[in-house]
């Protein structure tokens, strides 16, 4: 009797362990349609029009590359659009490996949170889906242009963002970062923007700049060069090239400085009931290319170059800040957030009128570019007769 009781207890325990648990479902991997990217558009009648880029794995042999297939679906909401694909001949869509989501300009202007909500609420999509805004008419058309190296546009776009640590001309914005920026105090969100450009072999998609949001509504776009300056302010630079130009009698002379390391320090200054911002940027670089022919071996020549590069950098950054202050009024640099963190009592007072303050906020930029070494050549190559 006792042993029977023991056995029953054990059986109960196992039953509970097996059955009363969180979600567990058995899915065969070949029954999944793995969605690589989503493009979100607005249909003419206010419905959502989704374009899914999925990997076509049918009949793929190991030597062949994976092909992409586009599935279009409409619905009143995001979810209903996803489920509506089931009525076509597609098996269930799987979002566990979705890498990118592209919003159309129209959707972004109306408010991005509406559509991003599902990406965060549902269990399957990852929080680090990279968000983009399409600068073209629709978002779905971007998937139609095949990338030059990979088969899936979504993979290509992710690769482009990954490579930004050597370029710093686009800011990767995963979904969680966007939401953080939208909900945080004193900072406006951004997203990289996509456009179609002419390449050597037909048209292709490119990350061409940054979309500026206020709250969750799209305000406008800035270019890739401006994004480079923006990256410095946001301290997101991990690499890239600074081109220093030097005017001389014989015309413009250019030098490339490759960034090794960059550190930005933003400090709010409060005096006489007036807030101003100080930006200190410390960049360590080395000379990567010398198109100028100037012999930089001497200390004074290098100091001259350094000063020149710093001035140009300051100019670019100040120009961008001015453009954003006047054009969009969205604090994408997080100056307000900086005030909030450093002098919260002032932030409490000024919070309400920050939009106004931001528009004529005084910002001083100080850049310090250090040239660590001159590469493998210490002297410019002298052209013999």
């Amino acid at each position: 009797m006792n042993s029977l009781k023991k056995l029953l207890t054990l059986l109960y325990v196992f039953l509970f362990i097996m059955l009363f648990t969180a979600c567990w479902d058995y899915r065969e991997v070949d029954r999944l349609t793995i969605v690589a990217g989503i493009a979100i558009d607005k249909a003419y009648d206010d419905d959502l029009l989704l374009t899914f880029e999925v990997a076509d794995l049918l009949g793929v042999k190991s030597e062949q590359p994976i092909k992409s297939v586009l599935i279009e679906s409409r619905g009143e909401t995001f979810m209903s659009a996803i489920r509506n694909t089931l009525s076509k001949d597609n098996p269930r869509l799987y979002f566990g490996h979705t890498m990118v989501a592209i919003l159309s300009r129209e959707i972004a202007e109306e408010g991005a949170m509406k559509v991003i909500d599902l990406l965060l609420r549902d269990g399957e999509p990852r929080l680090n889906i990279n968000l983009f805004v399409s600068e073209e008419k629709t978002a779905g058309e971007l998937f139609k242009y095949k990338p030059s190296l990979t088969e899936l546009s979504s993979v290509e776009l992710t690769n482009i963002l990954d490579e930004q640590e050597n370029l710093a001309k686009a800011l990767p914005v995963p979904a969680y970062k966007f939401v953080n920026a939208v909900t945080a105090e004193g900072i406006s969100a951004v997203m990289p923007s996509l456009c179609i450009i002419e390449n050597a072999e037909g048209k292709t998609v490119k990350v061409c700049g940054t979309a500026i949001f206020k709250e969750d509504r799209l305000q406008g776009f800035i270019s890739g060069e401006d994004t480079f300056a923006l990256s410095f302010i946001l301290d997101e630079v991990k690499g890239g090239v600074i081109v220093a130009k030097k005017d001389s009698d014989t015309g413009e002379k250019k030098v490339s400085l490759e960034i090794i390391e960059s550190k930005t320090d933003i400090k709010p200054v409060y005096s006489d009931d007036k807030i101003s911002i100080e930006i200190n940027i410390d960049v360590k670089t080395f000379l990567n290319e010398n198109m100028s022919g100037i012999d930089l071996k001497g200390e004074d020549k290098r100091a001259e170059l350094k000063k020149c590069a710093e001035e140009q950098m300051n100019e670019r950054i100040e120009e961008l800040i001015k453009k954003v202050q006047e054009g969009y009024g969205a604090d994408i640099f997080g100056f307000g957030n900086c005030v909030y963190k450093n002098i919260p009592e002032i932030w409490k007072e000024k919070k309400e009128e920050w939009d106004k303050i931001f528009r004529d906020l005084e910002v001083t930029v100080k850049t310090n570019i250090e040239i660590k070494h001159l590469g493998l050549l210490s002297e410019p190559i002298k052209i013999g007769d």
């Binding site: 567990w24 479902d25 991997v29 070949d30 049918l58 566990g96 490996h97 399957e124």
Partner: protein
């Protein structure tokens, strides 16, 4: 049931003589007939009558079994002395004189119990009977062919002694004795097996062994009642702590050097006649991953080998389960490009992943078992047939996907590294695949917890099975996953060794 106890013990022997009904009488003919009654219908028994060349009146008779005795020994030590020697002038019928002055064998004994004599004959001794005497002399003339000493197939070493145990137990004992010529090395004999009457020797070092473990072992051995012990494995199953467990709580070795080094740690070795495998006890889980060669080569290399062995055990047990769990429950864990290729390779496969995996594991076990039981030459063609023909054809025909074959092959290959734990790993692997198929990684975690709990509950002769894996004492963990240099191993494990806990403390 009747267990024949230590026959060398004279006191017990005399008691049995008194109890026995069948005793020799004074007539040679009657005595021979008495034996022939026992050996009815057994034509291998030889009986030879002879007498001394001078005193032909006294008849002698020798009884033995053909093939069990060495004829040369019998001739030289029994028949020749009796026929050729000059008997004492006043020779009367007295077995003591024959035993002491005529028979020249080194091992001879006077007995009169027929049952006992019959057992001796069956064990290869020759029994000498004399007319008008109710006593007999049994002479050790054992001599049969046995395998020569060679390197054990299952425990090969690159560097180190190449000697392995053989079937005759006395040869094995001599191999251990040669390595440890100390009077504290004891061999205790117990005869086990109602029919087989197998000599079982318990070997230990008197000054190191834990007496509690020794007494427990002797008690268990004396309580064994079984018809025939032909391999120490049978004996092991009968005296194990947890016979229902999938893990062995007794170790085994075929190498005398391993046995000797285990004796030095305070462990006990049990050798059974006719079996080249010695049992070692107490046995700890971590010993599955040891090889004697670990102590003969550089400690860096032996530590690496041990880590690889442990890792390969984990892989062999978990790999198929992990594959099933991740592919059917946790697709988000797979890197995206890998998921694409896995998904593409499963395209068009008719079976669910779990069926596919179980099926291939089954096929692998068939191949292994088939290769094990047949000769070496065909064994190779089996593996070619299995691996190449079955494997590639099955993938080409889209019956199984290529990743499953890779996973099962890795699991099988790593399983070969730890052959001693093979039985347990097959069962755990199967359990893990089933759990993974039902519950994914969640189920596997439960399976692993269950196994660890079970391992924690095991004991080998009172010593916790995971002693060296759960301990924090330096002397217990110096020689586990990593083998510390020899000079660091200065203490014996407390639980296992009874006395003399320091290895080199006695030396000064």
């Amino acid at each position: 049931m009747n267990i024949i106890k230590d026959t060398m013990n004279n006191e017990r022997l005399r008691n049995e003589n008194i109890n026995s009904q069948k005793v020799l009488n004074k007539s040679l003919e009657d005595n021979v007939n008495l034996f022939m009654e026992f050996f009815q219908d057994d034509d291998t028994v030889s009986v030879r009558y002879f007498s001394n060349q001078e005193q032909g009146s006294i008849k002698f008779c020798i009884i033995y079994i053909d093939g069990m005795v060495d004829p040369e020994t019998a001739n030289r030590n029994i028949i020749k002395p009796i026929i050729q020697s000059t008997f004492p002038k006043n020779f009367e019928v007295n077995m003591d004189v024959v035993l002491e002055q005529i028979v020249s064998a080194n091992h001879a004994e006077k007995l009169c119990n027929v049952d006992e004599l019959v057992v001796r004959i069956l064990r290869g001794e020759s029994v000498l009977l004399m007319d008008k005497s109710d006593e007999a002399i049994t002479v050790c003339t054992k001599g049969w062919k046995s395998r020569s000493v060679s390197e054990p197939e299952n425990e090969k070493v690159q560097r180190g002694p190449k000697e392995g145990f053989v079937e005759p137990v006395l040869v094995n004992l001599s191999m251990i004795r040669r390595r440890l010529p100390t009077p504290s090395l004891k061999f205790k004999k117990i005869v086990i097996g109602v029919q087989s009457k197998t000599d079982v020797y318990v070997c230990y070092l008197d000054n190191i062994v834990n007496k509690q473990i020794l007494n427990e072992l002797l008690k268990r051995l004396e309580n064994v009642s079984y018809d025939g012990i032909f391999s120490s494995g049978t004996l092991g199953e009968l005296i194990e702590d947890s016979p229902y467990s999938i893990f062995d709580t007794l170790g085994s070795t075929e190498r005398p050097d391993t046995a000797a080094s285990l004796l030095l740690t305070g462990r006990i070795i049990v050798l059974a006649d006719g079996s080249p495998t010695a049992l070692t006890l107490p046995f700890l889980f971590e010993e599955y991953f040891r090889a004697n060669e670990d102590y003969y080569i550089n400690f860096y290399f032996s530590s690496i080998s041990r880590l690889i062995r442990i890792l390969s055990f984990i892989i062999t047990v978990l790999a198929p389960g992990l594959y099933v769990a991740i592919l059917t429950f946790h697709q988000e864990m797979v890197p995206t490009p890998l998921l694409y290729s896995l998904s593409a390779s499963r395209e068009g496969i008719p079976f669910p992943t779990i069926v596919e995996t179980l099926g291939l594991l089954f096929v692998f076990e068939i191949l292994r078992e088939a290769g094990l039981r047949i000769t070496l030459q065909i064994g190779q063609s089996i593996s070619i047939l299995g691996a190449l023909v079955l494997g590639t054809a099955a993938v080409d025909a889209r019956i199984v996907s290529a990743p499953v074959i890779i996973v099962v092959a890795i699991s099988g290959l790593t399983g070969m590294m730890t052959l001693k734990i093979k039985g347990a790993s097959i069962i755990i692997r199967l359990m893990m695949v089933l759990l993974a198929g039902f519950l994914g990684l969640y189920g596997m975690v439960f399976g692993i917890i269950a196994i660890v709990l079970h391992l924690c509950s095991l004991r080998s002769f009172g010593v916790p099975y995971l002693l060296t894996l759960t301990s924090l004492k330096p002397e217990e963990i110096k020689d586990t996953a990593i083998r510390a240099p020899i000079w660091f191993l200065e203490k014996r494990i407390n639980f296992i060794a009874g006395e003399n806990k320091e290895y080199i403390g006695e030396r000064e």
